[in-house]
């Protein structure tokens, strides 16, 4: 509580008479606000002013204040009087009370609004429910009517059905009657027929007797001469033996026919069994590869082992070609089992496939669509870029094409290109010609070298021949074969060369070469040697020793 200030309550002209009803109203209004919910918020502000005017006047200030205090205290608010004195007003408390009253008012307004909303909602719900109820009632009535109609129809149909059944029964009875009539008539006819036939037979017998009795000589056969039997046999008497033989033959015929049929059936049977076995094997082979899927294969695991056992058993048994019932049944049962399994498996696969197809298809569609769009955008960009490039290039081309409108520049340009090419060609030509000259030089040098080599070779060979002669003369005392060797062919000479080469030195090799040279002196070989050596000469001119080595090698090559 702070300092109190006197409130200058605005004096409004009001009648004191009206205060009582207003106060009474106020009393009513404050504790019970439910009744006048709608009207209170707006007019409250207005009535507040009129309130003041009516409620509190100059005369009854104290009364009104005390009244207010009473009311507020009863409502739980602190007293608006100051604690110390009775008639002094506590402004702070008054303000607090006012504030609290205002807050209360706001709260109440809000609550009022909420309640109004709820009320509205409930009202609409009510309407809705009422509508639903009305509709349902209508539907119920309709369905009741329908049921009644259907029941009627049902009754009619049942009665029709009964009628038809009755008709059917009647028809059946009639049919039965007619059949009975027919059968009775048939028996009657048969009886009559038999009677007539007996009469007829009697007549026939009579006639037969007459005919036989007449002993007509006319009944005869005239034959010029007897005809031989078709198969050339003579006629045989009819005896018991022949009877027995005939019976035998007949039975033989029958038996052969039956045997044939049985053979055919056995063959068919065997073939069918084979086919069944094959089918079984194929079915078994189809099933195990799918053992990877644990879900479906859990059942087949133990069964497969059984099947394999069966297969083993049956294959053993069929080896003996038993056709007893048990084997047959086993085979057929096992095949049926497997076929069922295969069928189930195929059905499962089909389901899976359909699911798989439907699943990823959707995802794929979705993904691909996005990707597709992105890609299409990219492609479009690329296309645009390419188009621009093409345009620029076209422009450049055009420029290029257009620009040599000046003949001079064009010609110059052309000339430039041509000149370049010409110069290039000329350089190449020069190079080519130089190379040509070089080759010719080399060739001439080679030929000179070859000539020289030829001369040197001749000299060399002469020396060699002389040396060898000396050798052989010295060796001739030891063995006579050496003389033969001189006349031997180049091949032997070469073999000698081999043996001699192993032992002798390079000079000896020279001698061998000298020997073999004249022995197998053919110009072509020499020329070959020359060709071989020309290159070697060109490469190794200074090395004289290498010549014979290479000659020897080439010789070896020749002979080999």
């Amino acid at each position: 509580m702070g300092d109190w200030k006197t409130i200058t309550v605005p004096v409004l002209s009001s009648d004191s008479k009206t205060t009582s009803p207003y106060t009474s109203e106020k009393r009513i209004s404050l504790p019970s606000m439910n009744s006048q919910v709608l009207r209170l918020p707006l007019p409250s502000s207005r009535s507040m002013h009129s309130f003041f005017s009516v409620f509190c006047t100059e005369e009854n200030i104290e009364q009104s204040v005390s009244y207010l205090n009473r009311e507020l205290t009863t409502l739980g608010f602190p007293s608006i009087y100051a604690e110390s004195k009775g008639k002094e007003l506590n402004l702070i408390s008054i303000i607090n009370c006012m504030n609290e009253l205002l807050a209360l008012q706001h709260k109440n307004l809000r609550a009022q609004e909420e309640v109004e909303m709820q009320h509205l909602k409930l009202g609409s719900d009510m309407d809705h429910l009422q509508n639903c109820y009305a509709k349902l009632k209508e539907q119920l009535e309709l369905s009741k009517r329908e049921i009644v109609g259907l029941q009627e129809r049902d009754r009619q149909l049942q009665s029709k059905n009964r009628n038809l059944h009755q008709l059917l029964k009647n028809e059946k009875d009639e049919v039965q009657k007619l059949q009975n009539i027919i059968s009775s008539r048939a028996t009657q006819y048969n009886h009559d027929m038999k009677r007539k036939e007996r009469e007829y037979n009697k007549l026939k017998e009579r006639l037969h007797q007459l005919v036989m009795n007449k002993k007509d000589k006319k009944i005869a056969m005239e034959v010029l001469n007897y005809v031989g039997r078709a198969d050339g046999k003579r006629g045989a008497w009819r005896t018991d033996k022949t009877e027995a033989r005939n019976e035998e033959e007949m039975y033989k015929v029958l038996l052969s026919d039956y045997e044939q049929r049985q053979k055919q059936l056995l063959m068919e049977n065997a073939e069918l069994k084979k086919v069944l076995q094959q089918m079984k094997k194929e079915i078994i082979s189809l099933l195990p590869p799918q053992k990877q899927k644990p879900k479906e294969r859990s059942e087949d695991g133990p069964v497969l082992s059984d099947l394999e056992e069966d297969l083993g058993e049956l294959s053993k048994e069929n080896m003996w070609e038993l056709s007893c019932e048990t084997v047959r049944e086993q085979l057929t049962n096992s095949i049926r089992k497997q076929w069922r399994m295969l069928k189930n498996h195929v059905e499962k696969l089909d389901n899976q496939v359909s699911r798989v197809y439907s699943g990823p298809l959707n995802e794929k569609d979705v993904i691909s669509r996005e990707d597709h769009e992105l890609e299409t955008e990219k492609l479009e960009l690329e296309i645009q870029q390419c188009k621009e490039m093409i345009k620029t290039q076209q422009q450049l081309l055009q420029q290029q094409l257009m620009s040599p409108c000046d003949d001079d520049t064009a010609l110059l340009l052309q000339d430039c290109y041509l000149l370049e090419e010409r110069e290039r060609l000329q350089e190449e030509w020069r190079l080519f010609q130089e190379q040509k000259k070089n080759f010719e030089k080399e060739r001439s040098s080679f030929t000179e070298a070859a000539i020289r080599l030829g001369l040197e070779r001749k000299a060399f060979e002469e020396d060699r021949g002389a040396w060898l002669k000396q050798q052989f003369l010295s060796m001739s005392t030891d063995c006579k074969n050496s003389e033969n060797m001189t006349t031997s062919s180049a091949f032997l000479g070469s073999s000698d060369q081999d043996t001699w080469l192993v032992k002798s030195t390079s000079q000896q090799r020279k001698a061998h070469c000298m020997l073999s040279g004249p022995v197998s002196a053919e110009p072509c070989q020499n020329s070959q040697y020359i060709t071989h050596n020309s290159f070697s000469v060109a490469s190794k001119k200074p090395s004289g020793d290498s010549k014979p080595n290479q000659w020897v090698e080439s010789d070896k090559e020749e002979t080999e």
Binding site: S183, H208, I219, M221, V223, Y226, V227, N246, V253, L254
Partner: protein, 425 residues
């Protein structure tokens, strides 16, 4: 061989050259070659005489006189040395032997359509008998005419018997008032009976397949039932409806080609060729579109032997096809595939079909409808061939040569031989 009144003319089959000419005592009613083609028998029913001629020795002659016993039917035995004569009123069957001049009698033969049946190999003969109003079947050995088996047939009124081509099964069927077919084995045991239905008119015709696997039974209810030889149970039924709806069957319809005679060229008097071409219209086959409705004839209900039901049945020689004719639809021949057991082709003709016969070598069917055309069908197609004869030549029946190269077309007074070219392979 052909007989003209009382003369027997024997011609060569390839050249139609007259080889022999024989004269008989009376008008010949029936003529048959012996199985070895050495003899021909000519039966004159009125006089009761059978004359036999030999081809090897034209001078040889033989005459069998039945005298007052009369003659109703005559036929050769399979060995070609015996003649079986059926006397009048079916009193007895006399077996005359040409080798021994001996006579045997078979008593009480049955007066039915197919009372005598020989097996294909000619060893056995089955004869239908009737004693005391009961049917019996006797089986004889043809070599010495010894009675092998005699058993009673459980039929009311046996109508016919027929051996299976393998000679081991004999089919006996009852009169058309009762649908019943009995199958007996060679030794007389009853193997099976088959009855499709009661009371209605029953079996009209039957036919064995050449391999003895199937027995086709044509009945008055326009259906063909096929029994198999293992269980003697029906394996399938072929229906002959008037409307064909199945799109897999081909319907060949004979269509008249209007003669392409140019009116300007007509001259008086019209030339023979033109006249014949005017009168004999060309015809060809057209494939009809499904559904096809055939001409259905409902016979008069109060007459006996009505023209309804399956009247003709024939298996092809290779056992692949079955040709049937439904007498209710007299213009159509139905060809069924036996391997697939379904209808393959229907040939619809302009006139009623008189007869048809399969080629003994190939699956080729020849049929005639009473006009001067012969129609041929094979799985490759069908063709209508005009007989190039001046005037009318109404083909009543035809029969193939055993080699399948030619066939004889018979009309009332004439016959002609049609040669078929063999395809060069």
């Amino acid at each position: 061989a052909s007989c003209v009144q009382y003369r027997l003319v024997v011609r060569d089959a390839n050249t139609l050259q007259i080889l022999q000419l024989y004269t008989c005592l009376d008008q010949i009613q029936y003529m048959e070659w012996s199985s070895d083609s050495l003899f021909i028998l000519c039966a004159m029913y009125k006089r009761g005489i059978v004359q036999v001629w030999s081809l090897e020795q034209p001078d040889w002659h033989c005459k069998i006189d039945e005298g007052s016993a009369g003659l109703v039917a005559s036929c050769w035995s399979p060995d070609g040395r015996h003649i079986l004569n059926t006397t009048e009123f079916h009193l007895r069957i006399t077996v005359w032997s040409l080798c021994t001049k001996s006579v045997s009698y078979i008593k009480y033969p049955k007066a039915c359509q197919q009372g005598i049946a020989f097996t294909k190999d000619g060893r056995y003969m089955a004869v239908a008998e009737r004693r005391d109003c009961k049917d019996f079947i006797s089986i004889f050995v043809c070599s010495d005419w010894q009675l092998l088996r005699h058993f009673d047939a459980e039929t009311q009124d046996l109508f016919g018997i027929e051996w299976a081509p393998n000679g081991c099964v004999l089919a006996a069927w009852d009169t058309c008032l009762e649908y019943k077919i009995l199958l007996y084995s060679l030794d007389g045991r009853l193997l099976s009976t088959y009855q499709a239905y009661e009371w209605s008119l029953g079996i009209k015709s039957i036919s064995w397949s050449p391999s003895s696997q199937f027995l086709a039974i044509g009945s008055y209810d326009e259906k063909v039932r096929i029994l198999n030889h293992v269980t003697w149970k029906k394996i399938t039924e072929f229906e002959h409806p008037a409307t064909i709806v199945n799109t897999r069957t081909i319907v060949y319809k004979e269509v008249e080609k209007s003669p392409s005679a140019e009116t300007e060229r007509l001259s008086f008097p019209p030339t023979r060729a033109l006249a014949s071409s005017l009168f004999s219209t060309q015809s060809k086959y057209d494939i009809s579109q499904m559904p096809v409705s055939l001409q259905y004839v409902k016979p008069v209900a109060d007459r006996a032997n009505p023209k309804m039901g399956i009247g003709m049945l024939a298996f092809s020689a290779d056992n692949c096809f079955l040709a049937t004719k439904n007498d209710n639809i007299p213009n159509a021949v139905w060809i069924w595939d036996i391997q697939k057991l379904k209808l393959v082709v229907v040939l619809e003709q302009l006139c009623a079909i008189q007869s048809f016969q399969w080629d003994p070598r190939q699956p080729r069917l020849a049929l005639c409808t009473g006009n001067s055309k012969v129609y041929l069908w094979s799985p490759a197609g069908c063709v209508s061939v005009q007989v190039p004869v001046e005037g009318d030549f109404q083909i009543v029946s035809l029969s193939w040569h055993s080699s399948g190269d030619s066939m004889v077309l018979r009309s009332k007074d004439n016959f002609c031989v049609c040669y078929l070219e063999r395809e060069e392979v």
